[in-house]
């Protein structure tokens, strides 16, 4: 069961991890982009935490609010993408008790929205290469999904995305030179998945 509390914890834990790794994210973005991803995501998630709907018992409400915060605080490429992801996912989830299989469907809609907004496919070396495979695992495992399932796939994807050639965002200007360097957005997605896994472990 995915609850509003867990949704809130997810956001708080994501914020902590992103802020704690701000410099890493910024350095990654500096190598392949413009060096603001750590700043952008920290600013956005801080705002999301501040604006968290603490009263609702509906996880969908929580995630929708997070999406709006990100959309209006992050800017850049990651703002509309993560904003769309959380808003669309939140929109899909109904009521206060959400099965993990339902969460998976919500996140699927989220990531599809993200792909559409970014005109991006898999394997283009973006955050999508972290999020989508993990969501696939959730879809496959349904209600039996475990934190370890998520992390196993996230770890594998993180290694893989490093070797891709960037096709979207500023990293694409580096063409083949982008191979062997980690994508900043993939790395921030990794932390967001890690936060989700930890919350599931703790509460589940």
């Amino acid at each position: 069961m995915f609850t509003a509390n867990m949704a809130r914890e997810w956001v708080k834990e994501s914020s902590k991890k992103i802020e704690g790794n701000k410099d890493q994210l910024t350095n990654l973005d500096q190598a392949l982009g413009d060096g603001d991803h750590g700043l952008n995501m920290t600013r956005g998630l801080k705002a999301a935490v501040e604006q968290l709907d603490e009263d609702t018992d509906e996880p969908g409400q929580v995630l929708k609010g997070v999406g709006k915060s990100l959309l209006s605080k992050v800017g850049g490429a990651s703002g509309p993408l993560y904003g769309t992801f959380f808003m669309k996912a939140g929109n899909h989830l109904e009521g206060s008790k959400v099965e993990f299989s339902e969460l998976a469907s919500g996140l699927r809609i989220g990531v599809d929205g993200m792909k559409k907004r970014g005109k991006t496919e898999r394997d283009e070396k973006t955050m999508i290469d972290l999020l989508e495979p993990v969501i696939e695992v959730m879809e496959e495992r349904g209600n039996d999904v475990t934190p370890d399932h998520l992390m196993e796939r996230a770890n594998k994807s993180l290694d893989m995305v490093m070797e891709y050639e960037a096709k979207k965002g500023r990293a694409a200007y580096y063409k083949e030179k982008s191979k062997g360097k980690q994508d900043a957005g993939a790395q921030s997605s990794y932390y967001i998945i890690q936060a989700l896994a930890e919350v599931i472990k703790k509460e589940g």
């Binding site: 910024t26 500096q30 060096g35 603001d36 096709k167």
Partner: protein, 332 residues
């Protein structure tokens, strides 16, 4: 890099306030936003809104005023503004004739402005978007992000702004903006990097005796790293790279911008122009207008870019219309 700032989180708002305080007759800032709007609106014209990350000053707020933009929306440094901010700009300038958004081709700018356009349309405002992609240092391919938008954006502001000021319709203004975009190409070169406030180090490195050819305005890499060379040689390379796609030939008219990246002395820009002008002249190309100065910068990056706009008679006509902004002030 040492910066005359207070706190990285405040650079954008304090900069915008500093602009409004210097030019209260030109601007006001929409409260609680990073949007600067024109004070003396001409009535019933198409509104023009541009914007993007901060750090490119005088772009974009420096081009707000009669004959150019109606509002500029500023994001954090080198970061696209968010859709809600852009939406505020759109709402503030719409007078019923619709609004044209001028965006540079970066994923973030395109998406945030696109979402703002969708939101505005939901509120019943007619919005069109054009995307400037003039940087020939990047390959244009539908499978990738495509060419970046750089200095050519200023000519889009100028000409779309003049068309709107003339009372043309949204479709007409959009069409002429597209025509500028089709006919404008740029390329830049950097000799030293810029650093985003609050980040620990410069955005990229350039070797002691090197320069980066084809640099982007956020320090994105370009075509190649070359050895430091003479201004004349740099001028020649830029002309060689920029002209071919425009297919300019003997007798054509162009507008030229020799743009400083932020930390380049005017002396060096004029020395570049000295050669650029002659290269064009020798090809029989007529330079209707040459702008030399800091028009689209990248914080304290040192370097320059060349922008060439091929002029049709309609573009020429609009280029010569007056405009009154901080960064480009042209009398009748």
């Amino acid at each position: 890099m040492k910066k005359l700032i207070n706190h990285p989180d405040e650079v954008v708002t304090q900069m915008l306030d500093g602009m409004v305080k210097a030019h209260p007759e030109t601007y006001k800032r929409l409260e609680g936003t990073t949007v600067l709007v024109r004070r003396n609106k001409s009535s019933n014209k198409v509104g023009i809104v541009s914007g993007g990350g901060s750090g490119h000053e005088p772009a974009h707020a420096g081009y707000v005023g009669e004959g150019m933009l109606d509002a500029a929306v500023s994001g954090e440094v080198f970061t696209s503004p968010t859709p809600d901010q852009v939406l505020e700009g759109i709402k503030a300038v719409d007078q019923g004739a619709g609004v044209l958004l001028v965006t540079k081709n970066y994923t973030g700018d395109v998406m945030n402005f696109e979402m703002a356009a969708e939101m505005a349309e939901d509120e019943g405002i007619q919005v069109e978007q054009v995307i400037v992609n003039d940087d020939v240092a990047v390959e244009d391919s539908t499978h990738t992000t495509g060419r970046r938008g750089v200095g050519g954006t200023i000519f889009v502001h100028k000409i779309a702004g003049a068309a709107a000021q003339e009372g043309k319709s949204l479709d007409e203004v959009k069409a002429i903006a597209e025509e500028v975009i089709q006919n404008v190409r740029s390329m830049g070169v950097a000799v030293s990097p810029a650093q985003v406030p609050g980040s620990g180090n410069p955005g990229f490195d350039i070797g002691e005796n090197e320069m980066e050819l084809g640099i982007g305005i956020h320090g994105e890499p370009g075509m190649e790293t070359i050895e430091m060379t003479s201004a004349d040689h740099v001028a020649e390379r830029l002309i060689e790279e920029v002209l071919p796609e425009l297919e300019v030939k003997d007798g054509d008219d162009v507008a030229v911008m020799v743009n400083g990246m932020g930390a380049t002395p005017m002396m060096e820009l004029y020395i570049l122009n000295n050669r650029i002008h002659d290269l064009l002249y020798d090809k029989g190309i007529n330079t209707e207008l040459i702008l030399v100065g800091n028009y689209m910068t990248a914080l304290e990056m040192s370097g320059a870019s060349l922008t060439v706009l091929k002029l049709t008679s309609e573009l020429k006509n609009m280029l010569h219309k007056p405009c009154h902004t901080i960064a480009w002030n042209k009398s009748e």
